[in-house]
């Protein structure tokens, strides 16, 4: 048995978690988490044929379909060889999985949805109001990012990484920078490390605030949405004032950060944290006290902990279903080892649990922002770049879950780069969580997952 297949066996046995699976001409790559550390494995396949790991470990399925799409490889034994990321590659139309039974009807939704939403297609099969199966069809926002990355100059590649998913721009830019710094042996200065964590926590705060409101809005509780949107806007305005951009796009760069934080910025952010803490507490109470809202969220869209574990689901999706994982802690990256925070975990796995995880994380994130502001080291914010060849990889905890980046650097040119969104291991679970729920609850379940389209589609 090759090292590749042995790794597959360990994944199937639950001894390791799948982090990503990708390819380049002549080889397939695997990243996994084992014993608290990130491991990388390359498997040569000069003919483009490699043994499918999805045969034994289903979470690899869509990643292997994507490898087939992007490189023309063949994953031997792949249980579902249909294309995934790239549309229009086959002469025949895409075939959805057959569903058979009496009284079933199909509902096709998307790629254009009814709001300001990213594009994707959902094919529902229902028995009356009850969803028997939903099948996702993604890839509509496939931008060919990995092909573009090959041969790109480092600064342009970093900008592209920061535009994988706009809501996670800091997380992606940070993961890219950490991987590039590992590849080149460049060490970012201490102040930059802390400023990056500050930006990452501000991004988490803004997104969680937006999500808590938006999920409640999908249960027709618009009041929470209105209040949370106000708090989110305050965070974005503070980001613009302190870092020059509301979403902090291009704020994290290889070697450090693009912009220093002034003493006035420190005071502004400290005031913001204080204000959000005071304003959010009554909103969290309101959520807890509104029985009609809880009636919609409790017991809805349950994701079983076994599936969360098998798929190594990151972020609030995993943590609401008993998976005690946070990339800031394991494998971990600075400066979090010097910061105090707890990682909330629940086991219920329903919409309510995914909201409660976010509510608790808002508190933890505010605590982190306060700690960082109080202890921000002085000094330069950007290191001189070391010109070398090398490979690097990083796992960074975005608001949605762990973002993974692997790259190979040749001087200041990116030879290869792979970026894996946390949604890869969350989208399949949404299909499982919705089963048996009424179709009217799909938007609620979907928003509670809030998976990325652009980030996933690359």
């Amino acid at each position: 048995m090759s090292a590749w297949e042995a790794a597959g066996a360990r994944l199937a046995a639950g001894e390791a978690s799948l982090v990503s699976l990708w390819a380049e001409p002549g080889a397939v790559h695997l990243a996994l988490l084992e014993a608290g550390a990130l491991h990388h494995l390359a498997h040569d396949c000069p003919t483009g044929r490699f043994p499918s790991l999805a045969r034994v470990h289903p979470p690899a399925l869509r990643l292997e379909r994507a490898v087939q799409d992007l490189f023309g490889f063949v994953a031997e034994g792949l249980p579902d060889p249909r294309p995934w990321l790239v549309h229009g590659t086959t002469a025949t139309p895409y075939r959805f999985l057959p569903v058979e039974g009496e009284n079933l009807h199909e509902i096709a939704v998307g790629p254009v949805h009814a709001g300001i939403i990213e594009p994707g297609h959902f094919r529902f099969t229902c028995d009356g109001e009850t969803v028997v199966r939903v099948e996702e069809r993604l890839g509509y926002v496939h931008r060919g990012v990995e092909a573009l990355m090959a041969g790109a100059a480092l600064p342009l590649a970093a900008q592209r990484a920061g535009r994988m998913s706009g809501d996670s721009t800091v997380a992606y830019a940070l993961a890219f920078a950490l991987a590039a710094e590992q590849a080149s042996g460049t060490a970012p200065p201490a102040r930059a490390v802390w400023l990056r964590a500050l930006m990452a926590e501000i991004e988490r705060l803004a997104n969680h605030l937006g999500d808590v409101g938006a999920i409640c809005n999908d249960a027709a509780f618009a009041l929470m949405h209105a209040h949370c949107a106000i708090l989110r806007e305050r965070v974005l305005r503070a980001s613009a004032a302190c870092f020059g951009h509301r979403l902090m796009i291009d704020g994290v760069v290889p070697g450090g950060v693009a912009r220093d934080l002034s003493p006035a910025g420190v005071a502004l952010l400290a005031g913001l944290a204080h204000e959000i803490r005071a304003a959010f507490a009554p909103l969290a109470r309101l959520y807890d006290m509104t029985a009609s809202l809880q009636d919609r969220t409790v017991g809805t869209g349950i994701l079983h902990p076994d599936l969360a574990r098998q798929f190594a689901a990151g972020g609030y999706v995993g943590r609401a279903s008993g998976r005690d994982f946070d990339a800031r802690r394991t494998p971990g990256y600075p400066p979090y080892e010097q910061l105090a925070f707890t990682v909330p975990v629940l086991r219920e796995g329903d919409v309510n649990a995914r909201i409660m995880i976010r509510i608790r994380e808002i508190g933890e994130t505010l605590g982190l922002i306060e700690q960082i502001l109080a202890r921000l080291p002085e000094g330069p914010i950007r290191a001189a770049w070391r010109q070398t060849r090398g490979e690097g990889m990083a796992l960074v905890e975005g608001f949605r879950g762990d973002v993974f980046v692997w790259l190979r650097l040749e001087g200041e040119t990116v030879a290869r780069c792979h970026l894996r969104d946390p949604s890869w291991f969350q989208w399949p679970l949404l299909e499982a969580a919705i089963e048996g729920n009424i179709i009217a609850d799909f938007p609620l379940c979907n928003k509670s997952f809030n998976c990325a389209y652009a980030g996933h589609d690359r």
Binding site: H87, V145, L148, I230, A454
Partner: protein, 170 residues
């Protein structure tokens, strides 16, 4: 409830009044209001379509509806159906996979309609311009009435853009 009523009796509204505090937004809002009245009798319906953006533009389009900007007070609103829309706001590089959906959405809109390309990607593909998976912007697929620059444009930029569109059409 009594506490809430009492508090709200003395609290000031968050929606930025037309005289302060952000002079840029205020100026835009005032002009937009007048132009929308003149042009469309105080109503302009917008259909948003993501044709390959990173979702940054979508986040800022969402922000237009928060209490600070309160887009609807100017008679501007996002609608679900293209059949109800006057303006098609498109973001993203226009991926090959979204091209047909974009064309069909446009065809479903009653005439006259205006196409607004939002953000750097919609203009010329932005940092993804070289992608063979993209059409290189909205202009390659549909006639564009207005480009709103930014990566992403801020809510104030978006308001400014809509104003420019209305003035251009007057």
């Amino acid at each position: 409830m009594r506490k809430t009523l009492l508090r709200d009796m003395f609290a000031r509204p968050l929606t930025e009044p037309l005289t302060r505090p952000d002079p840029q937004v205020v100026e835009l809002a005032r002009a937009l209001d007048a132009a929308a009245q003149r042009q469309l009798g105080r109503s302009l319906s917008i259909r948003a379509l993501d044709a390959g953006s990173c979702n940054g533009c979508e986040l800022e389009m969402h922000a237009l509806s928060n209490a600070f900007y309160d887009l609807e007070r100017f008679g501007l609103r996002f609608v679900a159906s293209p059949r109800h829309a006057d303006v098609l706001m498109v973001t993203g590089i226009v991926t090959r996979a979204m091209r047909v959906a974009l064309e069909r959405t446009d065809q479903a809109m009653p005439r006259p309609r205006w196409v607004v390309a939002v953000g750097a990607c919609a203009r010329d593909g932005g940092v993804f311009a070289a992608s063979p998976q993209g059409m290189g912007g909205v202009g390659a697929v549909l006639p564009v009435d207005l480009y709103i620059a930014g990566c992403p444009p801020s809510p104030a930029d978006l308001l400014a853009g809509l104003l420019a569109l209305l003035q251009q059409k007057t």
